[in-house]
């Protein structure tokens, strides 16, 4: 951390007129970015706005087609990743790049290992990591295996790794997507500390509350262009949202501080249904094992009646993923039972559950929800392929007709049925999944992180679809890492902690504070 004598006014990063196209998609169209040394700079924009591309260019992963960039006043246009690292730019990716079988210290020094007598000096590595950890306030235990870390800890290791390489300009891509609220607070403390020590931080995010919380300046991007540059103290969430979307966005008072949802809260809330009422899905004493054969879902029981949304709040990794997978038929149920519309589906496979009326928006659209190299039309029938067969062959006409209809109904852009799903923006990819799962007949919907990583417009859209489905009498199980989202949509909220429902409360009686205590395990109560 050399205190470089950059005169004020000379920005740490200046990118101007950046152009970058992939095939016919122009990701950056004359984008610009200016970041001062020693500030936390938020780079915000909808999915597909070109933020990641701009950061890839900065990190040397891709050369720009046109435009110039300067780092600390030096022209570095089109440099390589190793140039960027040497110049002190460190990128913390959304998906961690760690070796799970190695220890924290080994991961941090990887590629720059201290050597003694031609051999790796592990003791020295541990010492160096301890020193760095102490100096930055990023607490880690150097001897633990990365596989055993929580996501928050793994992220600290990622940040330490870049700092160990001498990073003075830190780029964080959606760092809070996987963190619990206390972990986010810890991260903010660390980032502020780094900034005060003269570090420069660029934060890519969608979440306006974070932008307001932590940043000093904001750059808003839309459709590959830089729309505006704002001082955080002189702006409001609505102004930022408007710049991102290019039009006014309705913000509820609750959402002012958080993510964006439309206000109308149509359905009846606060009336928890009794389980013996005709429930659309009925789960009793469900036990499910995780990938490492540990109990991840531990005797969970609940039912959702038609026209109700049950929201599950909880810090990620408390069994939500395993619960949803078990309900969807993607994970073996050890004990307990699942009934959909009165029909026992405990031992039924994915297809049979779908026939019984189950729909499922999976948490990871890139891994589960879409075949990225399949066309939009083909993705819109994934899981329904058996229904689109005519005389033993796939009925292309019906598949295309279905695609045209869904593209229209769910406003998927660009409206090209034959385009590979890979080429769509995150929000539109998610709309494809939502269209497939909600565009047909179903009784029960499992909606897992339905708005993760999608832009404001798509969030609004998906939320209103979920409300419409509730109004149409569907039963919905909503899992979201966004507490605001759960509170805004659900009729009842269940908090999942270590595989159990530690609380089930009507949404009207729930608050972020009370749920937060259950989520972190500081308050325990048996499920109501």
């Amino acid at each position: 951390m050399t205190a470089s004598s950059v005169p004020t006014g000379n920005p740490a990063i200046r990118m101007t007129g950046i152009e970058k196209a992939f095939g016919s998609v122009r990701a950056n169209r004359g984008a610009s970015l200016e970041v001062q040394q020693g500030e936390i700079h938020a780079l915000v924009g909808e999915n597909g706005a070109g933020k990641s591309t701009l950061m890839k260019i900065l990190g040397g992963l891709q050369p720009p087609d046109a435009g110039t960039m300067e780092v600390n006043g030096k022209d570095v246009t089109g440099w390589s990743t190793s140039d960027a690292i040497r110049a002190g730019i460190g990128v913390v990716h959304q998906h961690f790049m760690l070796v799970p079988t190695l220890t924290v210290a080994e991961n941090i020094v990887l590629g720059m290992e201290p050597v003694k007598g031609g051999r790796f000096d592990y003791r020295k590595a541990v010492d160096e990591v301890k020193t760095l950890s102490h100096n930055t306030g990023l607490e880690v235990s150097p001897d633990r295996k990365v596989a055993d870390l929580s996501v928050g800890e793994a992220q600290r290791v990622e940040i330490l790794k870049t700092l160990f390489r001498g990073a003075k300009i830190l780029v964080l891509d959606e760092p809070t997507a996987v963190l619990s609220p206390p972990e986010v607070r810890d991260l903010w403390t660390v980032l502020r500390g780094l900034r005060d020590a003269g570090g420069t931080i660029i934060l890519i995010t969608h979440r306006l509350d974070e932008v307001i919380d932590i940043s000093d300046t904001i750059t808003v991007m839309r459709a590959g262009q830089t729309v505006t540059r704002l001082k955080t103290t002189e702006t409001t969430p609505s102004e930022i949202a408007k710049a991102m979307v290019g039009r006014d966005v309705a913000l509820t008072s609750r959402d002012e501080a958080g993510i964006l949802t439309t206000p109308a809260h149509g359905g009846a809330i606060g009336q928890p249904p009794r389980d013996d009422e005709a429930s659309a899905i009925n789960v009793t004493n469900l036990c499910v094992l995780g990938s490492r054969k540990t109990i991840e879902v531990d005797g969970v029981s609940f039912s959702i009646r038609a026209g109700e949304i049950l929201g599950i709040a909880g810090v990620e990794g408390n069994g939500q993923t395993e619960l949803i997978e078990a309900l969807a038929g993607l994970r073996r149920i050890e004990s307990g039972s699942v009934r959909i519309d009165g029909k026992d589906v405990t031992f039924r496979n994915v297809g049979e559950r779908r026939t019984a009326g189950l729909s499922h928006i999976p948490e990871d659209r890139h891994r589960r929800g879409l075949i990225l190299d399949y066309s939009v039309a083909d993705n819109l029938v994934l899981g329904l392929q058996a229904d689109f067969v005519d005389k033993g062959l796939l009925d292309t006409d019906r598949i295309n007709a279905n695609a045209e209809a869904q593209i229209k109904a769910f406003d998927i852009r660009p409206p090209v049925a034959g385009m590979p799903a890979r080429n769509l923006s995150g929000g539109n990819q998610q709309k494809v999944v939502v269209a497939r799962e909600m565009g047909g007949a179903f009784t029960v919907l499992l909606a897992s992180q339905p708005t993760r990583g999608v832009d404001v417009g798509a969030i609004e859209f998906i939320h209103s679809r979920l409300r419409e489905a509730r109004a149409a009498g569907k039963a919905i199980l909503l899992v979201s890492a966004e507490l605001n989202e759960v509170l805004a949509l659900a009729d009842r909220v269940a908090v999942m902690y270590r595989g159990k429902f530690v609380a089930v409360v009507p949404a009207s009686e729930a608050s972020e504070e009370s749920l937060g205590e259950y989520m972190t395990g500081t308050r325990k109560e048996s499920a109501a």
Binding site: L330, R368, G369, I371, L372, Q385, L393, M419
Partner: protein, 354 residues
């Protein structure tokens, strides 16, 4: 939509063509290093293959086997599986076809005997393909390792059976089959006389069309490709991933096994140790150059068959092995040129669409 199809076609066709050009230039240098004129050698190569009926017949014959093994490998790759066992699947197919042909009475008409032999060939290859498929599903054994090992086991086993029980003394082959032979092309077009070309090539073309329809038009093919691209998403889409693996390996093996018909029913009418001659392994190259598309595989099979036959034609001037080196260069060039050429194509398109 239309431009997209055109783009896809360009991306499918240009990389192999560029690779061919690279191989051609490399071949020039190679030929010149022997003090020969490239133009003369290439002319001879073409004359010896597409330039006369016998040579062309041999090209058709060789491409038939390659089409089967190429289709087999490409179907596996579409399911995300690398079937390196086409060689032994081909041998097992040929062997079972010969067994059935030997077992049938000469009185059985071809219309019955040929299908029976074909079923046997498909079953032989299918069983050898199903074993690694099953081991992968049941124990997670990697199909590449298992198919490589099965090549040794199956070929050795077949050699043992033939040598110990079935061979004609002083030879490495079985007696001639009694029933179930496929007519030579010479029986219709006399010019092909003397070449090994036979009507199995029709079966190869039918197999290519069936594989094409299966992969791109059927529900099973939709699911198979889904598993090959993203197994987790396929599972989410209600597809049994293990089921697809087992099915794909079995079908892949069966297609390779059918290739055995070409030699056993169409050419020599007996099973002989080593008749496969590496066609199973070359099938991997055929699938690669043919971009795992049935049409591409057929064209690539013709290409590799031309090189292989052409090697004989130019033997007097440059060593036959030169052609093998050239084959290797083509394979490497294709493997490297696919992403490179695509990138160039996309860059070239940009000003038009931007």
């Amino acid at each position: 939509m239309n431009t997209r199809t055109k783009e896809q076609l360009e991306e499918a066709l240009f990389p192999p063509l560029v690779a061919l050009l690279v191989a051609l230039i490399f071949g020039d240098l190679l030929i010149m290093s022997y003090g020969q004129s490239p133009a003369m050698v290439y002319k001879l190569l073409l004359q010896g293959t597409w330039g006369n009926a016998y040579g062309f017949g041999q090209v058709l014959y060789k491409s038939t086997t390659l089409a089967f093994t190429g289709l087999a490998v490409s179907l596996g790759i579409r399911a995300g599986l690398f079937n390196v066992g086409a060689e032994s699947q081909l041998a097992a197919g040929g062997f079972l076809a010969a067994l059935v042909g030997l077992g049938l009475s000469p009185a059985v008409p071809g219309i019955i005997a040929v299908p029976l032999c074909m079923i046997a060939a498909a079953a032989g290859g299918g069983i050898v393909g199903a074993i690694p498929g099953w081991l992968k599903v049941r124990f997670g054994a990697h199909e590449v390792i298992v198919t490589i090992m099965l090549n040794f086991i199956v070929l050795a086993l077949l050699n043992y059976i033939v040598a110990a029980h079935l061979h004609v003394p002083e030879t490495l082959h079985t007696p001639e089959i009694h029933a179930g032979s496929v007519a030579t092309l010479a029986s219709i077009i006399p010019a092909f006389h003397g070449s090994a070309a036979n009507f199995t090539i029709l079966f190869a073309l039918i197999a290519a069309s069936v594989v094409g329809i299966y992969l791109f038009r059927s529900r099973r093919g939709f699911e198979l490709r889904a598993v090959g691209l993203q197994p987790d998403a396929a599972e989410y889409g209600g597809v049994s991933v293990g089921g697809v693996w087992l099915r794909a390996m079995t079908i892949s093996g069966a297609i390779a096994g059918l290739g055995g018909i070409n030699y056993v029913l169409g050419y020599k009418h007996y099973y002989e140790e080593g008749f496969t001659g590496g066609a199973g392994f070359l099938g991997i190259a055929v699938a690669l150059v043919g971009r795992n598309h049935p049409l591409g595989v057929v064209l690539a099979a013709l290409f590799f068959a031309t090189l292989s036959q052409g090697g004989l034609a130019i033997h007097a001037f440059v060593p036959k092995q030169m052609v093998e080196v050239l084959q290797g260069v083509v394979i490497l060039a294709v493997a490297m040129s696919v992403p490179e050429v695509r990138a160039v194509l996309r860059r070239a398109r940009k000003p038009v669409t931007a």
